[in-house]
């Protein structure tokens, strides 16, 4: 088991290194001198000098990279150009907001996905089957940021039930008002994972029900509840893996949805960074999100053998 953990670790370290390289080069991808990309358009002389020094642009690239990497490892993600504040100060509250939304979204997709999957797996009629397949195709095809707009048009504009955009004004306790603001973006985010979880649960249910041991249980007159437990046991590793990866996608890929709903998370931050060409902020945000995604996948990989004894051999 320890071997397995170590091996996975050895595998992800070069990947994290590569991710950092890609993020570092984002600054240098910018057209022209990276200086011009970082410089505020009407910056004062001192500011330009200060930025020059803080970025060490006079150094050769490998030196710049390792300096940057050292700084990142010690928690310094650089300085936002527009706000002139450490990137981390911008990022931290945004991360909290994004996580809130992502966890809410995953919770919705878990309930809805498992529910739909079980329903489809147990009915398994032609109509239900068709409906699920069609939904799945549409589900993976639909631009979810657009679904966000549609939801706003329906529930906020036409019906006026829920707020269209933004986050509840800060209050002491997390209350109903916070939830109201989160419902539409969370549903939008949950859309794709719901489809994927539903498909996987349905496949597992059908598979387990076909298995001999379940038919034996049936024959032995075991209650449906016990059979259901078998389904849960067999489906949980897959569902867990999906949830892990989807959570990563929700956190990493929520930029569009957060932009639609003006939710002050990392996506919104990225959007602002792009609009103002605040490259250090862009770089820092992407680095943190990608690292989070890699680590999450790593954890899912680690958890797999505990849930699925067939995988212990690895």
């Amino acid at each position: 088991m320890l071997w397995y953990v170590l091996r996975r670790l050895v595998y992800i370290l070069p990947i994290l290194f590569g991710v950092s390289l890609v993020c570092f080069s984002l600054l240098h991808l910018a057209p022209g001198d990276p200086m011009t990309a970082v410089m505020p358009e009407f910056g004062s002389e001192e500011l330009i000098e200060q930025i020059k020094r803080s970025y060490g642009f006079d150094q050769p690239l490998p030196v710049q990279y390792f300096r940057w990497l050292l700084a990142v490892l010690s928690g310094d993600l650089g300085t936002s150009i527009v706000q002139d504040r450490p990137v981390w100060n911008e990022l931290a509250p945004a991360l909290v907001n994004t996580f809130q939304l992502a966890v809410f979204g995953v919770a919705i997709s878990l309930v809805a996905g498992i529910g739909l999957g079980l329903l489809a797996g147990y009915t398994r009629r032609l109509v239900a089957d068709r409906a699920i397949t069609t939904t799945a195709i549409v589900g993976v095809s639909v631009p979810h940021y657009w679904v966000g707009l549609v939801l706003i048009a329906i529930f906020a504009v036409s019906l006026g039930w829920l707020p269209a955009m933004g986050k509840a004004p800060p209050s002491d306790a997390f209350g109903f008002d916070d939830v109201r603001y989160m419902i539409l973006p969370a549903i939008t985010l949950a859309l794709i994972p719901t489809g994927i979880i539903a498909r996987s649960v349905r496949a597992t249910v059908i598979d387990v029900r076909k298995h001999e041991f379940v038919q034996t249980l049936h024959a032995n007159g075991l209650p449906q509840r016990r059979i259901f437990l078998h389904v849960v046991k067999n489906a949980s590793p897959t569902v867990l893996a999906i949830i892990g990866i989807q959570l990563g996608h929700l956190v990493g890929g929520s930029i569009l949805v957060e932009t639609v709903f003006a939710w002050p998370g990392t996506g919104y931050l990225l959007n602002n960074a792009i609009a103002t060409r605040d490259l250090p902020l862009l770089q820092g945000t992407i680095l943190v999100l990608a690292t989070f995604f890699v680590l999450l996948n790593f954890l899912v990989d680690l958890a797999q053998p505990f849930l699925d004894p067939r995988m212990k051999r690895h």
Binding site: A30, S141, V142, Y145, L149, L256
Partner: protein, 302 residues
């Protein structure tokens, strides 16, 4: 003794009688035949052909000028006479702009996949065929790009490169190269261990010749099937980047950008505001259904 063993020399009878005439079909002909017989795929092909044709011939078929604004005609609802799908926030005809928008949106969805398929298959086939260090270097780099959620990578690259259609094309191509490389590598690794590849090597054929003559003939169908399944996603992502303002610049039409500019008017004309998304959805669903049909059609068991 052994020489006396009773091996009977039987006359060779071809298993398939030569009497009846056999229609000669290559693999690709058979696959095309199956695709043509699938009603869903043919429906999707029709819709997509219509979209592409409309986009190409836009200047001749659209009822209005896509750029002439009119304060009086702002946000006319769907069904207004003369403005079948209404007007946008600057009074331009929606139908006209949706047709024009298809030009950039479809191109931005298709071109990255074409580019990524080209580079991804070359990289994957080279990695798979030569194995060893070559494989390790190529696949590790692919792993790194794989470590990013696709939306994040696309936004990051396009964001760093700056707004512009070309930059969006470059970022999306970079996003799709690693997955295609992986599929090509896996398929090639599987093919290269087969005896017929060894036999080809035994005839003294060079590596490029074997790759073209033996590997590509077998890996092209899984690669194409997979690449086609990415077109829908590519269209959605490309429009997403436009929606963030990373693609075209405003006066021009593009589905994602239209969603962006109409967003401000969602309280006034919610239907108009979501209309461009319907186009994205139709294109993406059609490509995905077509890709499914393609997979089934190409799955001709040898």
């Amino acid at each position: 003794m052994a020489r006396r063993t009773t091996y009977v020399d039987e006359t060779l009878t071809p298993q398939i009688a030569g009497g009846r005439t056999r229609i000669q079909r290559t693999y690709w002909q058979a696959a095309r035949r199956r695709l043509v017989r699938d009603p869903v795929s043919m429906g999707c092909i029709s819709i997509l052909s219509l979209m592409v044709a409309a986009a190409i011939f836009a200047p001749w078929i659209t009822p209005h000028d896509p750029y002439v604004t009119s304060i009086v005609n702002r946000l006319k609802p769907v069904g207004t006479p003369g403005y079948l799908l209404g007007t946008d926030e600057l009074g331009r005809d929606m139908l006209t702009r949706l047709i024009y928008g298809g030009r950039i949106s479809l191109l931005m969805g298709l071109l990255p996949i074409a580019v990524a398929t080209l580079f991804g298959s070359v990289l994957g086939v080279v990695a798979g065929y030569f194995g060893g260090k070559t494989n390790m270097i190529i696949m590790r780099v692919a792993d790194v790009f794989f470590a990013f959620p696709s939306v994040l990578l696309a936004v990051g690259l396009a964001g760093a490169l700056g707004a512009g259609v070309v930059n969006v094309l470059i970022s999306l191509s970079l996003v799709f190269i690693p997955p295609i490389t992986r599929v090509a590598e896996a398929a090639t690794t599987q093919i290269r261990t087969q005896d017929f590849v060894e036999a080809a090597r035994a005839t003294g054929a060079s590596a490029p010749r074997i790759i073209i003559g033996h590997v590509m003939t077998n890996v092209s169908s899984p690669i194409l099937t997979y690449a086609s399944s990415l077109i829908g996603l590519s269209i959605v992502l490309a429009s997403g980047l436009s929606f963030l303002g990373l693609g075209m610049s405003p006066p021009l039409a593009d589905w994602g950008l239209m969603l962006n500019t109409l967003r401000q008017s969602i309280y006034l004309a919610p239907v108009n505001a979501v209309l461009p998304g319907v186009m994205i959805l139709i294109a993406s669903v059609c490509f995905n259904l077509l890709s499914d049909g393609l997979r089934t059609a190409m799955d001709v068991k040898p």
